[in-house]
Symmetry: C2
DNA sequence: AAAAACTGTGCAAACGTTCCCAAAAACGTT
DNA sequence: AACGTTTTTGGGAACGTTTGCACAGTTTTT
């Protein structure tokens, strides 16, 4: 059961021209008479000709497709990034292939290699929380695959990167908690492997320092699985409670929602007494109970910027050697501004 | 800047064989001596040979890719369906290309045609709420493109379909509201174009009938944009309130969350007095305030089943003429079971 | 009026596969 | 040793494009 369309050959035959002439007319390049061009275009329109992208790809040795690696599409931050990526990619004639790691290094490597073997023209990637060894990416990069990192980026990889201002976002959230009177502000965060974890920790520390609050390591809990394993998260929350935090700054989308759930499940009586400020791009945050202050990342824009950088690398005539790290500002959405808190 | 790999030709040259022999050894088909095969495989392994999928696609006239059309990936129901699709597709050697309609017919048509021109081997689609004319799909189908519908399906299109038991889900949710003492149960739903809207309305009516409650058309409100336009949704909620509903059965994920938001925004004083039961696959439902009873669809499984059906069509030797409509059961997750309601 | 330059077109190769067909090699039978 | 049969291999076309090169026809230059 196959699906047939007309080809350049069919058009050439029907019009008594050569395939090269037809190709030229269609691509609108090289010298060709206005007349023939019109003739060809009219006929192509009539038979609803669609160039076969596979043949084109084979000839041009590129696929006009971009690979995307994220941990989870069922995560608002990443789905917004993907929307940003698509908005640029489709305009520029690329389509995207999305792969999920579910925070597994093994899965990430498998997916990247699968995409590379599918001859993608470039890769946009946010590393999984497990990832420590990125040599497989270096190899692909060395072979000529353009790569742009976003959100979770490695430190020592010379290519374009796009991140949020994690330091400032963390600082703002922590400061907000302090300014609303909290003195024991804990920090719940992701795997130490991740760049975002380190940067956000710095922001947290800086805010404490500004208000002369001592930094206590025992108030910082890491979740290796980024909230994918609820037991791990519950354990972390449980370990935090004996220190009686009155505020928690949480470092990621999934941890933020997961932590509120864990609190409600294990310690409902204190859940609404602890103020929470966390990174999250969930658009449902207004419905949450207990409510929280959220740090929103410019996810859509991050996707756009990363895609523009990637396409510039793909289409560069000569190897790119100057790389940028773009840092986008986060936005603090304060609890007070969120509707519905009167219910608490 | 291009990215090079070894080809069958390189292997043939290096080993002093012909490309046909190498191809045969690699594909493990046709007669070939054990010895040569081993030799070729060992060498291929050594140089890390990866068949060029584009060349293969051109030759075999298929791309090993499946197109997916959904309204929004930032919707838990759809992202779970996509996970189900991927779980099967990757196992069977296909990759997937995801497109979003954002509930626009124009966008849907554009995306489908773009995918078709990218030579996908088959299409999995949940129609947009605006879609009324599916002739463009009929044309593609007639040309030989296998199509399987899921969730939002057309009535008069002879192909495989996979849906949830919308009637029963709606019945259960409405019955639940009635059994918890509600007597004025309104119904907030999607565009009338959608199959799911009609089926869920029937379930709602059946539950009312069972308990001898009169059906009142004014208690049913349709949202053409499925909650994508918050003004429309707010307007619908506003129009419902004068009838003093004590319960609302809501027909979709986005409407459910949107309605709670609208209630909290416009009528906070009554928001928590109205019981809500709605279709939603959000995993954050436990955090919501006011809380709600939810009808969960087996989204992951729906994706799996749809993909299996699609691949069976793609790989069928002869045109398929017997079609199935698979109906999967929903699950009612009652408010009482949800943690955290003690906060209300 | 011849030479030079330009314009429009066609031929054919190439991209990396798969697979039909034929040729060659290996083996068995008389 | 000659033949037939089977197994293994190679040649080459095809998938649908793009594009360098050559060539014919036209226009411009000298």
């Amino acid at each position: 059961m196959r699906f047939e369309t007309s080809t350049i050959k069919d058009i050439a035959k029907a019009l008594g021209l050569s395939t090269s002439t037809v190709s030229r007319a269609l691509r609108d390049r090289y010298e060709i008479s206005e007349e023939t061009k019109k003739l060809v275009l009219a006929y192509a329109e009539k038979v609803n000709y669609r160039a076969n992208p596979i043949a084109r790809s084979l000839k041009e040795r590129r696929s006009y497709s971009i690979g995307i690696i994220v941990s989870e599409i069922a995560n608002n931050f990443f789905s917004q990034v993907i929307n940003g990526i698509e908005s640029i990619a489709y305009d520029r004639g690329y389509h995207v292939i999305i792969s999920q790691t579910h925070e597994s290094y093994k899965q990430e490597k498998l997916n990247v290699e699968h995409l590379a073997s599918r001859s993608i023209d470039g890769l946009l990637i946010a590393l999984s929380s497990e990832t420590q060894d990125i040599n497989y990416l270096r190899e692909l990069y060395a072979k000529g695959l353009p790569i742009v990192f976003f959100d979770r980026v490695p430190e020592d990889f010379a290519t374009h990167k796009v991140i949020a201002n994690n330091f400032k976002g963390a600082f703002d959230a922590t400061e907000h908690l302090i300014l609303s009177g909290k003195r024991t502000v804990a920090h719940l965060t992701n795997s130490e492997n991740l760049s975002i974890t380190r940067e956000r920790l710095k922001g947290y520390k800086a805010a404490l320092a500004k208000y002369h609050i001592e930094f206590k390591p025992e108030l910082v809990k890491y979740c290796q699985h980024c909230g994918m394993h609820s037991e791990e998260l519950e354990q972390a929350v449980k370990e935090l409670l004996p220190y009686k935090p009155d505020g928690i700054f949480i470092s990621s989308d999934r941890l933020t929602t997961g932590c509120i759930m864990a609190l409600k499940k294990t310690n409902p009586e204190i859940a609404h007494k602890i103020a929470i400020a966390g990174f999250t791009n969930s658009n449902l945050v207004e419905l949450f109970s207990p409510s929280l202050t959220s740090v929103k990342q410019p996810a859509f824009e991050m996707g756009q910027v990363a895609t523009e950088l990637l396409i510039s690398m793909i289409e560069a005539k000569r190897p790119v050697t100057e790389f940028e790290t773009k840092i986008l500002d986060t936005e603090l959405v304060r609890m007070q501004k969120i509707l519905g808190n009167r219910f608490l």
